[in-house]
Symmetry: C2
Subunit: 513 residues, 2 copies
């Protein structure tokens, strides 16, 4: 590299220019909806065995505790109510449901640029959960979380490229009234991000008021129904194999209101689900198939996400654990079953058991996130910010999670093999009388932005540079970024007139920002 | 759980007993040699295309700079020396080589319990590298590393279940004479661990003296040749497509000495290899095929590991980077090519760009480690302890890496699907008139040790417990574990008579421990 000629500097200038030009979305190295599916933990025979076991479970065990309305919907569709109060599902009913279920769902966002097309192996990462603590990463402290924390999380997510949707990751512990909490959750999320949001209603009676708010935000009920930008996470079962009566009623109400639903089955392997990975998947699949029958009995083709979310358990303590290899397998195996049925699906990944954004959190979050992505999971929930096995949410970790998921998405994008990428011509040119290296080749320059994901906060400096930079601390950098994001006005803020109207119509707790 | 009956406590006692009994090796949830292969980043057509491109590169471009002895071996085997000094490889020669190459290699260890059987999708994790710095995790500092650091690393590795081999991860910067460094590297590693070790000789003339030492450690040349417990890492190419003249001569010498060789091609994608993942794999494959021809020309069937180790480059700075998604893809794609050829192979994973064992290091190390494992890579080198893009080695990180790799190995083990794990009977029992949960079932209890990997240092406490425990810091725990390990006499220490004899025969720098 000692023979720098004018043409070489020309190359440098071109490289600098290339570096600064913004890339068109389709040329970016990563984006929402990249196709996974190269990782297949289950063989075809394994999937068939899981499917058969799930069908048997539905036919022979069935589910207890459906609400009266649900019993009517399900028996009307062909399910059988037993003397023991359990509803059993003939195989043909499940098959008919799968035939009529919605296989291509668009999850709309307030900003259509953030719409998500679910289906196939298309991968999206986002937040979710019901954390009750806010993690103070600098102070190494846990405290109760509130509506301002939730709003801040939404605002941060709005700025992070690799967080594709914002299901509320924590509950507003500072709002004791549950209906007010539900309404404020919507307000805090929607006023923070224009991406698709998700929530979970406490009671069916809270849904009408919430829909009023959503209609106002959308600019009218017709506009809402045209592009519903919020989905509802329905914990419609209490595993093993019981409907969650009240949540089923919520589900009926939100379907009526035009809201996509996430059919969430959150068994704990070893407690509320079998301890084996395969067994926990069987039960989650059976429960979600029952849910799918339910949804399609209420409204054929209504958008529903097949939410097999089995969680791991530390059998020594009986406490939940989400950072294990078992968890990553549970999630990836479930994602493969979504493809088996050809329905849009989601599962949980990225959960850290660690209390803080430390090395353990990094390996835990990456393990399940990258495996969920490679398995082609459509909706990867709880992917960033979650600590203490879902009890704590951390803004700094959320920001670092964007970097982490960026690398996971690069893996999802995979290896492109074609004449250009095989690079045989380039190899010939470089080796036979060429410069003997690829640093300056057109091909290297032209691909340096579209092939490579560069970390935003991750550090790649040499030890010497790092020392000269004052040994930057990762958490401090994330805190600085958080302060910067929250110090600016959010691009997703409501129009002031709308905000005023909402504050007048509803008991909004979030202070005017 | 309020109705604790005598039989329930009996169950508890049984559980406690089960927990304390050591599991037979074959029942342990994870072990060396688990079968990967469920992750396939390349399609069959992709692999064929890479193979064809590699053959073309070998036929048309060939490799320059073979030593005279290598020219003789290679042309003797059927390669063609061109007027330009490059050696080109006819397709038939490569195919003949693949037919005669050793496909099932045993890497012996001083303790036969640690022998590694390479082949198929069997996965092993270990250290490697040539770090020049020791990372002081507590002091956030980098300093030059020396022979004591290397010995300590070997001793730590000897105690870690998920570190299956110990290729020297750092160079002894405190030994200026290269021959003395090579001899002391062997001594420091071998006296620290009874696992398979690896090194890399600086010059061919150093090999005879080193073999003398190895013969002494083995108890005679015949014993060494029967069970060679050390392999040599040969950086036999200077990518792109040039033999490393001196390293080739080292390779000839170690083959003669009965030592397994790692054919290491370490191109940097974008500098010494094409910038595309596919192109870097093509070149690494071509170079390693050339190496395989070389080895089999010297000694047909000699144990050789197909060491496609392409590294990533940060094209913005031109510096190496090992913590990226691109790196994980490079490694996993290479591992798949090893299966394509059916030869034992190895590649690099687990490299952190981060300077410290922080959250970034955690996600970087997990990403490539778990993907390499899932792809069925036989030898995953540099899997633990490596920071600053290979420039720094950290003992605390090595210890934490054991936890990290444990979870990765659990993922490699995968999902077992059979009647027992599908758990339909259990589901029936629990749901239909049973307890409604799986906590106390025989199946849950019986599998809690053999299905689950529990972290050694990773924290799974609740926020409340964590607070009561004084908010333990991950790095402090790792430092305490390091001090504990190094405070005890190593189980792998040499017999005192042998140690005395070695110290008499060779200029040993390591102080008597």
């Amino acid at each position: 590299m000692s023979d720098i000629s004018p043409s070489r500097s020309g190359g440098r200038a071109a490289r600098r220019a290339a570096r600064n030009a913004p890339l068109a979305q389709h040329l970016r190295p990563i984006r929402p909806g990249l196709e996974g599916g190269t990782y297949k933990p289950l063989s075809e025979a394994d999937m068939q065995a899981i499917h058969r076991a799930a069908l048997e479970a539905l036919e022979e065990i069935g589910l207890a505790d459906a609400p009266p309305s649900g019993v009517a919907y399900l028996t009307g569709a062909g399910a059988i109510l037993g003397d023991d109060g359990r509803i059993r599902f003939p195989r043909a009913l499940v098959e008919d449901t799968l035939a009529m279920a919605n296989r291509q769902i668009t999850l709309c966002a307030r900003d259509p640029a953030h719409d998500l097309e679910l289906g196939g192996n298309r991968v999206h990462f986002g937040t979710a959960g019901a954390a009750v603590h806010m993690v103070d990463a600098q102070g190494r402290n846990y405290r109760e979380c509130g509506v301002q924390d939730l709003h801040d999380a939404a605002r941060i997510c709005d700025t992070l490229d690799n967080i594709h949707f914002v299901q509320r990751p924590m509950v507003c512990r500072d709002i004791p009234d549950n209906q007010e909490m539900d309404l404020n959750t919507i307000f805090a999320c929607c006023s923070g991000t224009a991406k698709h949001i998700g929530t979970s209603f406490t009671e069916p009676s809270f849904v009408p008021k919430a829909l009023e708010m959503l209609h106002m935000i959308a600019g009218g009920e017709d506009k809402w129904r045209e592009r519903p930008f919020m989905s509802n996470s329905n914990c419609f079962v209490v595993p093993p194999m019981k409907f969650a009566t009240e949540s089923c009623e919520v589900m009926e109400a939100v379907i009526e209101g035009g809201m996509p639903v996430l059919l969430l089955s959150a068994g704990m392997a070893g407690a509320t689900a079998p301890s084996t990975v395969a067994g926990a998947i069987v039960q989650a699949v059976a429960e979600c198939l029952a849910g799918l029958v339910y949804v399609n009995a209420v409204k054929p083709g209504h958008p529903a996400i097949f939410g097999t979310w089995p969680f791991g358990l530390d059998l020594r303590s009986g406490a939940m654990t989400g950072g294990s290899g078992e968890q990553a397998l549970l999630t990836a195996g479930c994602a493969q079953m979504h493809k088996f049925y050809g329905v849009p699906g989601g599962a949980a990944a990225g959960i850290a058991d660690s209390k803080l954004p430390d090395m353990q959190a990094g390996w835990e979050q990456m393990c399940s996130n990258v495996m969920a992505g490679l398995s082609g999971c459509n909706m990867i929930y709880e992917a960033a910010g979650m600590h203490a096995s879902l009890l704590g949410f951390c803004h700094e970790s959320l920001i670092l999670g964007d970097d982490l998921i960026g690398q996971a998405l690069r893996c999802v994008r995979g290896i492109e093999v074609n004449d250009e990428t095989l690079a045989l011509d380039q190899m010939r040119e470089v080796c036979l009388g060429g410069p003997g290296h690829y640093l300056g080749t057109e091909q290297t320059l032209s691909r340096m932005e579209q092939d490579h994901v560069y970390p935003a906060l991750g550090d790649r400096s040499s030890p010497k540079e790092w020392d000269e930079l004052g040994k930057p601390d990762l958490i401090e950098k994330a805190t600085a970024r958080k302060d910067q994001i929250l110090g600016q006005r959010s691009a997703a803020s409501f129009d002031p007139m709308l905000e005023k109207a909402l504050r007048k119509a509803f008991p909004i707790h979030l202070p005017v920002q």
